[in-house]
Amino acid sequence: MFENLDPVLLARIQFAFTISFHIIFPAFTIGLASWLAVLEWRWLKTNNQLYADIYRMWVKIFAVTFGMGVVSGVVMSFQFGTNWSVFSDRAGNVLGPLLGYEVLTAFFLEASFLGVMLFGWNRVSPKMHFAATIIVATGTLISAFWILSANSWMQTPQGFEGGAEDLLYPTNWLQVIFNPSFPYRFMHMITAAYLTTAFVVAGVGGYYLWRGQHVKHARIMLGMAMIMAIFVAPLQLLLGDLHGLNTLTHQPAKVAAMEGLWETQRGAPLKLFGWPDQEEEITKYALEIPKLSSLILTHELDGEVKGLKAWPRDERPPAATVFWTFRIMVGVGMLMILTGVFALILHWRKKLFDTRWFQYWCMALTPAGFIAVLAGWFVTEVGRQPYIIHGVMRTAEAVSPVAASPIAISLAAFVITYGFVFGAGVYYIVRLIGKGPQAAEEAYGAHGVEKPPLVTEMVSEKGGPHV
C-alpha cells in the first residue's frame, strides 16, 4: 500500500513527530516544577495563602502536562529500537548507559515523588511535601542532563572508537558525557524551558488582570514571570550566542545553513531574510546587512565564514528549513527580551499591572516559548543532517529493516492519538485556567468533594452519597 514510499523518510517523519510532540511537555514541566518549588517555598516562608492557592492551581496543570509528557516519553524509549535499530546496534555501547542513567537517576525520582506531590497533601508534613516538589523539580533537571548529553554526543561525538562489526566503542566516558556541545545545549535548553513556563504564566496572569479576576494572584504570577523576562531572556541571548559559536567550531555546515551562506567569504553579510535554494546554491531575495555575519561569528569585520559550497552536495543540511526555523527562534527570543524591557519601563512608571495593551501583549506571547523551543530543535536536528551521528553515521544507514507500511500506519496512528489526547489535554488545561486559583476549601470542591478527604474518615460506600 505504501511500498513506493521511502522508509527512511517515513521513519524520520515519525521520529520528528513523536519527539516534537514530546518535547513540548518537558519544555513546560521543567520550568513549572522549579517554579512550583519556589511558590511552595514562598508559602512556607511567608505563610501567605496566595502562594498556596497559586500552587494548587498550577500543580493540577502540571499533573495534566506531566501525564502527557510521561506517556509520550515512554514512546520515545522504544522509538530508537523500532525505527532506528541499526543506529541502536552501532551506537548502543556509547549511548545506552547514558539513557540507562536517565531512567535510574531521574525517571524513578520524578514518577515516585510526583505521586506525593499530587496526592500527598494530607499524608505527609508540609516540609515533606515541599521536599517532594523539590525532588520532582530536580528530577526534571537530571533527566534533561542525560538526554541532552546523549543528543549532544550525536552532534559532537568524541571519546569513542570504531571496532568490530562496525560498532562504536567508548574510550573515555567523561569525553562522551561532557562532549563539546553538551554544556551549551544543556544551559540553552534549561533556560528555554524556564522562559517557556514564564511566558505561559505571564499570559495567564495577564488574562486574569485583563478580566479583573483573581487580581492578587495574577499580580504575583505576572510579577514573577516578568522577573524571568527581564533577567533570563537577555541571558538566553548570550547563551544562544555561545552555543552558536560552539556549533561554528564543531558543525560549521549547520551554521552556514543557519546563515544561508553558500560561498566561503571574508566579511560575510548577515542575511536577515531570504530563501535558500538547495538546487541553485544561492539564497534568493536576500536582505543583507554587510559584514555582520562575520562580526557575529568571528568577532572580526573581515573574518572568514565557510559557505555551504565548501561541502559536497550530499553532506549539506537542508538549508531553507534550518535558515527559517533559526529566524523564528531568534525572532521569538527578541520578543521575549522586548517584553522584559517593556516590563521594566512599566514597573518604573508603577503601571506594570494595569496597562491594558501589555496584558494583551502577554496573552499573545503565551505560546512563545513552545514556538521557540520547537524552532530551535528543528535548527539543531535538521542542521546536522544528513548525519544521525555527526560525521560518523548517516541517517539513511540507521533505519530499521521495517517495511514502509507499518511505519506509515503507525505514524498515522500516532498523529490521530496525539491529536486527540493533546486536544483533550489543552482543553482541560484551558478549563483549569478558566477556573483560576481557588481558596483551599473550594479547591477540594473542584473534584465534587466537599471537604478534604482523610484516611481515617473514610466515607463508607454503603452509607455515603453516591456520585
Binding site: 522504544f78 548502543g92 555501547n93 496526592f119 460506600e461
Partner: protein, 339 residues
C-alpha cells in the same frame, strides 16, 4: 578504560537485572493494568473512583519499570534491542498507544465532568486491555522465536501474530485481572472489596487454564525445552516450580472465600513468579530466541560496567523511595480525590 569484566560476569549480571526489571514491571504495572481491565465492570461510579484512587499515586512509577526494561535492554544488550524492536514493531506500537490512552485518563477523568468522563473511563479500560493483550502477544512471539539474518531482524511485519501469541495475550489479560482484583481486595473495603473478590474468583480459573496451556505447549513445540523439563534428573529438580504454582492457586482460592485481605495479592504475585521462573528456565540462555544468547548480544564490557556502577548505587535508593511512596499511601483508598 574502566571495566569490571575481569571481576564479575557482566553479561550474566545484566541478564539478571533486566529480567528483574521486566518482572517488577509485570507485577507492578500488572496490577494497575488489571484494575483498568476490570474497570467498566465495577458496580458503581463511586467504586470506580475508589479503584482509580487506589492506583493513581503509583501507576507512573510502575510504568517506569517498563522504561527501565526497554532502556536497560538498549544499554546492556543493544543487539537484542535492535532485533526485537523491529520484529515487534506493530505490537509494541499498539501497546504504547494503549498505554497513552490509559495514562492520560488518570488526570483527564478527574477534570472531566458529566458524560465526557465516560470517554476517559473507556479510554482507561480499552487502553489497559490493549496494552496487556499486546504484552501477552509480545511474550508469545518471544517464546516462538525470531527470524534473524546477520545482525538484523529478517522476518515480516506479522511474524508475531499466531494462535499461540493470541492465546498468551488472552491468558495475560486474565492474569493481570487477577493481580488487579486481589490488589483491590487489599486496598478497598465494603462493596468494592466484595465485588473484587468475586472478580478474583472468576478469573482465577482462567489464569490457571492459561498457565497450564503455556506450560504444556512450550515443551511440546520445542524439543530442547522438552528435554530440559522432562529428562531425569531435571524433572525432579524442576518439579517444585509447577507444584508451588498449584499450591498457590489452591491457597488463593481458599483465601478468597475466608476474608483474607493481603494474602490473595501476595500469592498472586507468587503465581506470576513461578510462571516467570518457568519461562526463564525454558528460554535460558536465549535473549533473541532462538538466534542469539544473552552473551552474544551483550554490550561492550566498559558500557555494561559503567551502568552497573550506577545501578548498584541507585537501585537500592530507588527501591527504598518507591517503598516509601507505597508506605505513604498505605491503607484503604478513598473514593475522593485528594488534590
Amino acid at each position: 578504560m574502566f571495566s569490571l569484566e575481569n571481576i564479575v560476569d557482566l553479561p550474566l549480571i545484566w541478564y539478571g537485572l533486566i529480567a528483574t526489571a521486566i518482572f517488577l514491571y509485570v507485577l507492578l504495572d500488572g496490577f494497575d493494568l488489571g484494575v483498568g481491565i476490570l474497570f467498566p465492570f465495577a458496580p458503581t461510579d463511586q467504586c470506580r473512583d475508589r479503584m482509580i484512587n487506589s492506583i493513581a499515586p503509583f501507576w507512573d512509577g510502575n510504568e517506569t519499570w517498563l522504561v527501565l526494561g526497554g532502556g536497560g535492554l538498549f544499554a546492556a544488550f543493544p543487539l537484542a534491542y535492535a532485533i526485537l524492536m523491529p520484529a515487534l514493531y506493530i505490537p509494541i506500537t499498539l501497546m504504547l498507544l494503549g498505554l497513552i490512552f490509559r495514562g492520560v485518563a488518570f488526570e483527564f477523568r478527574f477534570k472531566a465532568t458529566g458524560k465526557s468522563r465516560r470517554i476517559w473511563d473507556y479510554s482507561f479500560h480499552f487502553g489497559s486491555l490493549a496494552a496487556t493483550f499486546m504484552q501477552g502477544m509480545i511474550l508469545g512471539a518471544f517464546v516462538t522465536g525470531f527470524k534473524v539474518q546477520g545482525r538484523g531482524f529478517a522476518g515480516t511485519a506479522f511474524d508475531w501474530l499466531n494462535a499461540y501469541s493470541v492465546t498468551i495475550g488472552i491468558a495475560l489479560v486474565f492474569g493481570y485481572a487477577l493481580l488487579g482484583a486481589t490488589w483491590l481486595i487489599m486496598k478497598t473495603d465494603n462493596d468494592t472489596q466484595a465485588w473484587a473478590r468475586k472478580c478474583a474468583s472468576y478469573v482465577l480459573g482462567y489464569v490457571g487454564l492459561g498457565l497450564a496451556v503455556v506450560s504444556i505447549s512450550m515443551p511440546m513445540m520445542n524439543s530442547d525445552i522438552r528435554a530440559l523439563w522432562f529428562d531425569t534428573p531435571n524433572v525432579f529438580m524442576l518439579l517444585p516450580i509447577p507444584v508451588a504454582s498449584l499450591i498457590l492457586f489452591i491457597m488463593i482460592w481458599r483465601d478468597l472465600h475466608n476474608g483474607h485481605e493481603y494474602r490473595p495479592f501476595l500469592m498472586s504475585l507468587g503465581v506470576f513468579f513461578t510462571g516467570y521462573l518457568g519461562l526463564g528456565i525454558s528460554l535460558w540462555p536465549w535473549l533473541v530466541p532462538f538466534a542469539f544468547t544473552f552473551r552474544q548480544t551483550a554490550a561492550a564490557p566498559p558500557s555494561q560496567s559503567l551502568l552497573l556502577v550506577g545501578t548498584i548505587v541507585m537501585l537500592p535508593v530507588v527501591l527504598t523511595y518507591v517503598g516509601y511512596c507505597y508506605y505513604i499511601f498505605r491503607g484503604k483508598a478513598s473514593h475522593e480525590s485528594a488534590y
